[in-house]
């Protein structure tokens, strides 16, 4: 998770193995295009090491940090100015994504006596986004008075998910988490663990998170396999693991719908599974939760932050555009160095 952030992970060898890239030998059979690519890559690597190696560039480094801080401040200022001064310019979505509407319709069609299986498969880093994305969906489940079973394929998952359930439950007084929710805890084994859910649900997770026999709960008496749930909803931040869920539990679902609440970064890779009918619907990131709030008719966190979100994205798009244009017109780094 921390790889790539300078200073957070230290290799045991220190800097002993790092060096500037060497030029390629004349004996290599490379095309002009490959030489150009190698030179470009070499200049990129060289630039990244120069900051640390050459003390003469301290001024440049200070300027870079100042620029970073300035950009950060401007971005936050844009977000908050848009909330107060630019809220009239916010563009409300007029059409809703079919996958979001499908989640709403599917949830409405679940029989009241069938529990919903909620699986958490996300890291703490994306909890902020996914808690916003899942908030209205969880509220919808509670307003329908559906019983819920929690599990997680990540050790910290059910802790975060049950915290989210408690947070949403504060708004809904007639839903009793003590009797209507069972927390099965951590499902170990990754994709093998997911496969075991299809093979034998009760033997895969015999106890709750606090080591009590799970399947004695009154509303779980009739649940023998995944197909006895009203729906399976996976909350995930990772496209690969989303694929594992589909591949491993789909055979055991029969007619039970499989739905997802996912981070926006995983959405493009889930779309084909929705179009092929393997996934009944999904809510992806901020835009997905915004649509769900509007379809459900309960404006919540996403609606409240829409103007800030749109302004921040517009600002970043402009920044990328300007950065691209500057990179296009400025002299080639290799030319500058002679």
């Amino acid at each position: 998770m921390l790889a790539g952030i300078s200073g957070t992970l230290h290799s045991p060898e220190g800097k002993a193995n790092y060096r500037k890239p060497v030029g390629y030998g004349s004996a290599l059979k490379v095309s002009d295009q490959q030489k150009a690519n190698a030179a470009l890559f070499g200049s990129l690597v060289e630039d990244s090491f120069e900051d640390e190696e050459e003390s003469g560039h301290k001024n440049g480094k200070t300027l870079r940090i100042l620029f970073q801080i300035l950009l950060g401040i401007v971005l936050v200022a844009v977000m908050y100015a848009s909330k107060t001064y630019l809220s009239n310019y916010t563009i409300q979505p007029a059409l809703f994504a079919p996958e979001v509407v499908s989640v709403f319709d599917t949830l409405n069609s679940i029989p009241g006596d069938k529990p919903v299986l909620l699986a958490a498969d996300f890291e703490a880093a994306t909890y902020g986004e996914l808690s916003w994305s899942s908030q209205t969906l969880l509220e919808h489940i509670m307003r329908r008075n559906l019983n819920v079973v929690l599990l997680s394929s990540n050790p910290a998952g059910t802790t975060m998910l049950s915290q989210q359930m408690q947070s949403v439950n504060q708004k809904i007084s007639n839903y009793d988490l003590q009797t209507q929710m069972v927390n099965l805890g951590y499902l170990a084994g990754g994709s093998t663990g997911m496969q075991s859910l299809s093979g034998g649900l009760r033997s895969a997770l015999p106890y709750t998170h606090d080591f009590v026999e799970a399947w004695k709960s009154p509303f779980l008496q009739s649940v023998q396999s995944l197909s006895d749930f009203g729906a399976v909803i996976v909350i995930s931040d990772n496209a690969e693991r989303t694929r594992f869920w589909i591949e491993q539990i789909d055979p055991g679902l029969a007619n039970t719908p499989l739905m997802f609440v996912i981070s926006a970064q995983a959405a493009p890779l889930l779309q084909p599974y929705y179009q092929s009918g393997q996934v009944s619907g999904f809510i992806a990131g901020f835009n997905g939760s915004l649509s769900y709030e509007q379809v459900f008719g309960q404006p919540s966190v996403s609606s409240a932050h829409l103007s800030s979100f749109q302004a921040a994205l517009l600002f970043l798009a402009l920044l990328i555009l300007v950065g691209g244009l500057v990179a296009l017109v400025r002299p080639d780094p290799t030319d500058r160095k002679g």
Partner: protein, 221 residues
């Protein structure tokens, strides 16, 4: 005297940690490194507790105590796996490793074939299904859309075929054309993924800054 409830204490700690993470804006610094170490340490400790109480106790210890002797097999395999730590005894752990890799590969390959490969082939074919079309025009639209999807799928797959002809060491003409088309579909996909990553980052920033402002306001009031 203010009421120092556990909620308030955790709010203050979260607030301080969030602000400390934002200090990365000033470049790599001691505060950021300290907070990173706290997060990594706390996560590792928490995971260890969860694994002991939610995996080892209920899945290993409880069945053995209940007389399920078959559970001694995973206990034995786990014991052999620990021997991997010693260079002299590491070969005894190969049995456990072979079991883990074999089962993992079988589950992954079986899932990929049945869940993704066959599922996606069915999905691509179902794009041509005109059964629900109301008019000839909509049938034509469905067929065109299906053809476009098929072209995208085939061209993307062809792009990743790096085989060449023996005679001149180059791709065939048809393969080259399809691979060229495939590049556009891959570029669009990567663009969509990048947009998603950006959206996720903005949402996370929004959520955290909102938390900081809300906490700050609650302190003032």
């Amino acid at each position: 005297m203010p009421d120092f409830s556990s909620d308030l204490i955790w709010t203050i700690i979260s607030f301080i940690l969030t602000v400390a993470v934002f200090s990365y804006l000033f470049g790599d610094n001691a505060i950021f490194r300290f907070v990173s170490a706290v997060f990594v340490g706390a996560t590792a400790g928490y995971f260890a507790v969860i694994i002991i109480f939610q995996v080892i106790l209920p899945r290993l210890v409880a069945p053995i105590m209940a007389g399920s002797w078959i559970t001694l097999v995973p206990l034995l395999l786990s014991g052999l796996l620990i021997l991997k730590l010693s260079p002299k005894l590491a070969r005894f752990g190969n049995v456990s490793m072979a079991y883990l890799v074999g089962v993992g590969a079988a589950v992954a390959i079986g899932g990929a074939v049945m869940g993704t490969l066959i599922g996606q082939i069915k999905g691509t074919l179902s794009d041509f299904n005109t059964a629900g079309a109301g008019s000839p025009n909509s049938s034509l639209y469905i067929i065109l859309e299906g053809a476009f999807m098929l072209l995208g799928t085939a061209a993307t797959l062809v792009y990743f075929n790096f085989g060449v002809k023996k005679s001149d060491g180059k791709r065939g003409a048809l393969t080259s054309v399809f691979a060229w088309i495939g590049q556009f579909f891959i570029a669009i996909t990567l663009g969509a993924v990048f947009a998603g990553v950006l959206t996720t980052a903005v949402t996370a920033l929004l959520e955290r800054t909102d938390y900081i402002v809300a906490t700050f306001q609650s302190f003032i009031h």
